[in-house]
């Protein structure tokens, strides 16, 4: 059968996306020909801003290179502008005379930047910002000239200005309205934005109308811009002028061919123009009176259009509500919907001028009309979702400001931290990637079904976070909460440790034991590692396997430890550290507290916080100060930074409590003293409660002990973290010595057999509690052997803080200068 001919004019984001969708559903229906006026294959126009800012290169932003067209049998004409459509003859004619016939024609000609009709607009050095050519021209000008003037304080103008500034130019943004991004932001948010941009060195002239661009002759004989003049008579110097004052749908070609246009090529809900053989998608199309200028709606159009071109005949495009994010590194900004306020609307506003956070939600009749977020935009997609779906927010109104975690708290098993909560608590229907319209459920499904492990894989399979990239963090969280933590897919059983080797964790542990290997280079050599010195994922694992298998023989390699375990403190997001001294069993006294207070004053430590583990966290300590802070504290390391024993939480127990039947505090102290300085595959947490009321929360710990009349019950493999898991009953014992012996055996088995970064819950889930019982409870001899091996491993282990106050690893804490 003869295939139909599909010709596409305009090789941009919307058009090529339509082809991608079409090839997915009907790969063999058409012979496809593409004409593009630009010399490049298909690239991500959105990311021209990071290219201009020097954060990416052109190579990074290519979406489909010429090979892609070849692989899909698409005939590609680059650098060829179509100048005429012969509708009667069903062909298109390019500038150079190339002619192609069509059965279906797809117009995706995008838009043209609007150029202010002022004198001097054609001078050298006056540019717009639309394609690779413009971007290259600006980069070249920035290397040569000093003064840049960007006309237009909208999204595009600000991204251009930021890029030019980062390229070393002196940049002034001229805006006709009283505040920047006036169509996306209210005044307060806009002023905060302006302040941050001013801090980056940008200058602003607001409420200024450009009247003329002044030129001067150049040595090459041309005329180049020299200054920009305003209608109030003032002028500022300019060697480069970038006009970013808006775009106009590029409907010239369609109009000349007699296709009905009205500020864009008029299309119906199936993206057909008035000529039924001709479709239009993208910024050139006018749908229900709107021509869009962001990719999310264009991608929706692409899907519908492909569906109809592919003869599937379902799907209508019904318009889009759009949201905006500004892509200036270091600035978080989100806006959606209508936030102008007005009759019958109410507002919830949170404004922390010092912290640089502003949130405003406009509500009408219990529905969100608009939202503006500045400084903290994580909840943007959540508000946007409710806005688009016209969700009634009456019931959650009180918590609205605090994000989905607060709202969903009541009925969620997965609490957590590190933002995990955001991803975990998001409903499956919530949109994650606004550009490509990808929901959480789609991502999770792809991760699970296709066994995806990396962000890159998720991008490839779902397109989430592959356009503007601002949802990358969220996608990573979803990935982490889906495959990481408690959820370890079966496929992982035979997975190699990492890309550096074919071997699994278990094989590697076995070889280390059987071959008596003692150093990382030995392991890598013997097991034929594929990389010269591993990676950040396998080296810490190997270091742990060596140390736990051959205590006192294998030597620690600090360079193969994550920074926290190298610095013996927790790195914070600003590069400072936190210090958590150990308080055995959560018990302290006046002299320790006094020393802590003195240290806080002496080193001006900004935050002192009581942790969830019954001790005190000093946050914001400078790395150089750490050894002196530790010396002055004169308290043991709390190992709050390490894959090691963290805390043993206790309740007051029989010493004070009217219900207590066992001395849980002393039991906790004894356990903490027995196990501190013990490294493990992951962190280890314990708790001891003095009666079954369980005030120390022993039910969600790696080892939890509960006092009963006749002795102690031991529970293992609980976890209160990312996914809460209740600990399982291991056994009941009579004496506190037995508690230590049984817990030692359990934890030593874990230390010897679990994979690095397995919490006890993950390990027990894999090997089964029966196996653990068999080795620890039923086999008394083995229990003693395990107990003794742990004793041996911990023998003579020093407090890392004390060692470092005495000068060990000195270089780690000293800064050089130049």
């Amino acid at each position: 059968m003869q295939k139909m001919k599909l010709v596409m004019v305009g090789n941009g984001m919307a058009g090529v996306r339509t082809l991608e969708e079409l090839i997915k559903i009907s790969p063999d229906l058409y012979d496809i020909t593409v004409f593009g006026a630009e010399p490049n294959a298909n690239y991500n126009r959105i990311l021209l801003s990071p290219v201009l800012a020097g954060e990416m290169t052109i190579k990074d932003i290519m979406l489909n290179d010429v090979d892609w067209y070849a692989q899909n049998n698409i005939k590609l004409h680059l650098n060829k502008k179509i100048v005429r459509i012969d509708r009667a003859g069903r062909k298109v004619i390019a500038e150079d005379g190339t002619t192609e016939e069509y059965d279906r024609l797809l117009l995706a000609t995008g838009s043209n930047p609007f150029i202010l009709p002022v004198q001097g607009k054609e001078l050298d050095g006056v540019l717009t910002y639309r394609d690779i050519g413009d971007t290259d021209a600006m980069i070249a000008a920035a290397a040569k000239y000093k003064h840049a003037v960007v006309i237009g304080g909208g999204l595009l103008g600000l991204e251009a200005a930021n890029g030019l500034k980062l390229r070393g130019m002196d940049v002034t943004v001229v805006h006709i309205m009283p505040w920047l991004m006036d169509r996306q932001l209210d005044k307060t948010a806009s002023q905060m934005l302006q302040k941050s941009l001013e801090a980056k060195g940008l200058k602003f002239l607001l409420q200024k109308q450009t009247s003329e661009i002044v030129g001067a002759p150049t040595t090459e004989g041309g005329m180049r811009v020299k200054a920009v003049r305003f209608d109030d008579g003032t002028e500022i110097p300019a060697d480069l002028v970038c006009m970013a004052v808006g775009i106009r749908p590029n409907d010239d070609l369609a109009r000349q061919s007699g296709i009905h246009c009205n500020r864009g090529i008029v299309v119906n809900d199936t993206m057909q123009t008035f000529d039924p053989r001709i479709y239009a998608v993208g910024e050139c199309a006018s749908h229900r009176g709107i021509a869009y200028g962001l990719v999310a709606p264009l991608f929706d159009m692409a899907k519908v259009c492909a569906n109809h071109l592919g003869h599937m005949g379902i799907g209508r495009y019904q318009g889009s509500v759009t949201s905006t994010k500004l892509k200036v590194t270091g600035i978080d900004l989100f806006s959606a919907g209508d936030f102008s306020g007005g009759d019958g609307t109410e507002e919830i506003v949170m404004h922390d001028a010092v912290g640089g956070v502003y949130k405003r939600i406009v509500i009408k009749d219990e529905h969100i009309l608009g939202a503006v977020l500045y400084g903290d935009t994580v909840d943007g997609s959540w508000y946007f979702q409710m806005l688009r779906e016209k969700q009634n927010i009456g019931e959650i109104r009180d918590h609205l400001m605090f994000g989905p975690t607060q709202v969903n708290r009541g009925h969620l098993g997965n609490t957590g931290h590190q933002g995990q909560s955001n991803a975990a608590s998001m409903p499956d229907t919530m949109e994650v990637c606004g550009c490509n319209g990808v929901c959480k459920g789609t991502i999770v499904k792809a991760i699970k079904e296709k066994g995806l492990f990396s962000l890159d894989d998720v991008r490839k399979h779902t397109k989430a976070s592959s356009s503007c990239g601002s949802c990358t963090g969220l996608v990573e969280q979803i990935l982490a909460s889906t495959v990481g933590g408690a959820y370890t897919p079966q496929a992982n059983l035979t997975k190699p440790m990492c890309g550096c080797t074919e071997h699994t964790h278990e094989e590697t542990r076995k070889v280390i034991r059987e071959q008596h290997l003692l150093t990382i280079p030995q392991v890598m050599h013997f097991m034929e590692w594929k990389t010269p010195n591993g990676c950040a994922s396998c080296r810490p694992a190997l270091n742990y396997y060596l140390l736990s298998t051959w205590p006192h023989e294998a030597k620690d390699d600090p360079q193969s430890r994550f920074i926290n375990e190298r610095a013996h403190a927790n790195i914070q997001k600003d590069g400072t550290y936190s210090v958590v001294p150990r308080m055995f069993g959560g018990v302290t006294n006046s002299s320790e507290l006094r020393r802590i207070a003195d240290v806080v004053d002496k080193y001006q430590i900004p935050t002192v916080k009581v942790t969830g583990g019954q001790r005190i966290d000093l946050l914001g300590v400078k790395k150089e100060d750490l050894p002196r802070v530790w010396a002055d504290l004169a308290m043991p390391s709390g190992h709050a930074y390490a894959k090691a024993l963290r805390t043993v939480k206790t309740c007051v127990g029989s010493e004070w409590c009217r219900f207590g039947v066992q001395d849980s505090t002393q039991m906790g102290i004894d356990m903490e003293k027995a196990f501190w300085k013990m490294y493990a595959p992951h962190k280890v947490k314990m708790a001891v409660s003095g009666c079954p009321r369980n005030c120390a929360e022993s039910g969600i710990k790696d080892i939890g002990v509960i006092g009963v009349d006749s002795g102690w019950e031991i529970y293992v493999a609980g976890n209160g973290g990312i996914k809460t898991e209740v600990a399982q009953f291991l056994c009941k014992v009579k004496t506190s010595e037995e508690v230590i012996e049984y817990s030692s055996a359990f934890i030593q088995l874990y230390r010897e057999e679990a994979r690095y970064l397995d919490r006890t819950v993950h390990w027990v889930a894999r090997v089964g509690l029966d196996y653990v019982r068999q080795r620890v409870i039923d086999d008394a001899e083995n229990r003693k052997a395990l107990f003794e091996r742990l004793q041996y491993a911990l023998q003579g282990e020093k407090d890392p803080w004390v060692e470092r106050t005495q000068g060990m690893e000195k270089h780690e804490f000293e800064v050089l200068s130049a």
Partner: protein, 115 residues
């Protein structure tokens, strides 16, 4: 042609070689921080005893690269594990971004930076 990140702060100014450390004072597969007029600089030493210098700021969220784990010619940022090329300051795909780099060399056992 490989794209070189531009160091904005120092572009156009004359540079000189300055000794910042002895090679042996930087741990193999490790780094030291050098405070300078250009801000903090991370100076890395790899297994082959090559040295590299990058602005001590991850292109992602400014994490201190000097504190990361070094392997091959790459460092993993301590904050969110982006991997940054020591030689070019470029983030390894799929992440994108780059951080400024400085020329570094070893002479007579000393580590020099061109600043």
């Amino acid at each position: 042609m490989s794209a070189q990140p531009i160091n904005i702060k120092t572009a156009g100014q004359p540079r000189t070689w300055i000794k910042v450390s002895a090679l042996e004072d930087i741990p193999k597969l490790g780094a030291r921080v050098v405070k300078s007029a250009h801000g903090d600089i991370a100076v890395f030493r790899n297994a082959e005893d090559e040295v590299f210098a990058l602005r001590d700021q991850c292109p992602h969220k400014g994490g201190p690269l000097s504190q990361g784990i070094v392997f091959g010619k790459t460092v993993a940022c301590p904050l969110h594990n982006w991997q940054i090329g020591l030689a070019d300051g470029q983030a390894v795909a799929p992440d994108v971004g780059c951080t400024g780099r400085f020329e570094a060399k070893i002479e007579d056992g000393g580590v020099y930076l061109q600043l």
